[in-house]
């Protein structure tokens, strides 16, 4: 027996447990968990804490499943882009077949378990979310239209609506507005990222707005969508899940966000390149805080209600 007969290199599919966890996009899952939990907690009606925990877990798993399906289908794009080239499939740690199997199995599992633990409307919404992200966005829109982010953003916007459906068994103005908040927030968030990651999308052949219409047009789009986002964010403040705390947070954040988008609109590429896209990067960081604090404020309103505070 020679040394050549033993291969200790990482083989195709020689994955560790963490590689399968990475397939589920844990950072995206954390956003899904947070917004779904806020939707569930802010909703009227009582859900047993353990059922609520399980429901959030199954929603997160559904989000993870769509992430695995996205990584399976987009492995060719991921291999080209610097940001995604270390993912488990491009590096060969997980085989595409294993990723597909995990994605499909978790999709079915999460939907059925959410239906059994909570209700079938919530399960149907989760199934539609997975379908929308994996098929409509990943397989169709992403490689076809520069509006991919706009329409595809719906997939990331469903979790608070699902959380609400878990608690109430229905859909209401409040849950639709929480959906609209994330939906309208997605384009400026991703286009700001695309402004300083443009070369990557170009290399991968993804028709990101910066590639197809140029950066000047993208800057205009960021500004317009930021303006359209503001009334949606403020409208939540006047519903039963809003209140003074939420409205104060929303007014401040939207003023800052519009100011940031205005700064992006006014800049030309020479100025942006000179400070290595500092304004665009700060706007992107603010966008993360924007969504977190809006949902945090909804949560705060719900938490204050038992003490007679919160709400109107």
């Amino acid at each position: 027996m020679t040394d050549a007969s033993i291969n200790t290199q990482v083989q195709d599919g020689d994955a560790q447990f963490g590689d399968f966890v990475a397939l589920l996009k844990p950072r995206v899952m954390s956003l899904v968990v947070f917004t779904a939990a806020v939707g569930l907690i802010a909703a009227p009606g009582h859900v047993h804490p353990f059922v609520a925990f399980c429901a959030i877990l199954f929603i997160a798993l559904g989000g993870g499943a769509s992430g695995a399906l996205n990584m399976w289908y987009d492995a060719d794009i991921d291999a080209v882009m610097k940001r995604t080239s270390r993912r488990p499939i491009p590096t060969g740690r997980v085989t595409p077949g294993d990723a597909l199997a995990l994605g499909l199995a978790l999709s079915g599992f999460s939907v059925v378990m959410l239906g059994l633990a909570a209700n079938w409307l919530a399960a149907a919404l989760l199934a539609f979310t997975i379908f929308f992200y994996a098929v409509i966005y990943t397989m169709w829109l992403k490689r076809w239209t520069p509006q991919n982010i706009v329409i595809g953003g719906a997939a990331g916007a469903f979790p608070p609506m699902i959380g609400w459906a878990v608690a109430t068994g229905g859909v209401s103005v409040e849950s639709v507005l929480m959906f609209a908040l994330t939906f309208m927030w997605t384009p400026p968030h991703f286009w700001a990222l695309a402004l300083f990651m443009n070369s990557d999308y170009e290399k991968a052949g993804v028709p990101m707005l910066t590639v197809t219409h140029g950066r000047k047009s993208t800057r205009r789009h960021v500004f317009v969508y930021t303006l359209l986002l503001a009334p949606v964010a403020l409208a939540i403040g006047f519903t039963p899940i809003g209140g003074l705390v939420y409205l104060t947070v929303a007014v401040i954040l939207n003023a800052l966000f519009i100011k940031g988008a205005w700064d992006i609109l006014r800049r030309d590429e020479t100025t942006a390149e000179a400070d290595t896209y500092g304004v665009e990067k700060r706007f992107f960081a603010l966008s993360l805080l924007y969504l977190f604090l809006h949902f945090g404020a909804i949560l705060a309103e719900a938490a204050l209600k038992p003490w007679g505070l919160g709400g109107w």
């Binding site: 040394d3 033993i6 200790t8 560790q16 399968f20 353990f50 399980c54």
Partner: protein
């Protein structure tokens, strides 16, 4: 050297096996917990008693 290399391969596999084992154990605990919660929340006063409908 030879055996240590082989051991590293086993370490990677063991990590995966342990992870899957823990996930399965957590799943069993989850189903058990859900069952307890669901059963204890049933309002038995609304559940028809066997034979009651026939006698009414």
């Amino acid at each position: 050297m030879f055996f240590r290399d082989e051991h590293e391969v086993h370490t990677r596999k063991r990590s995966l096996n342990r992870g899957v084992g823990l996930v399965l154990a957590a799943f069993v605990a989850l189903i058990f917990g859900l069952t307890v919660v669901k059963v204890s929340n049933i309002d038995f006063s609304e559940v028809p008693v066997a034979g009651q409908e026939a006698s009414e």
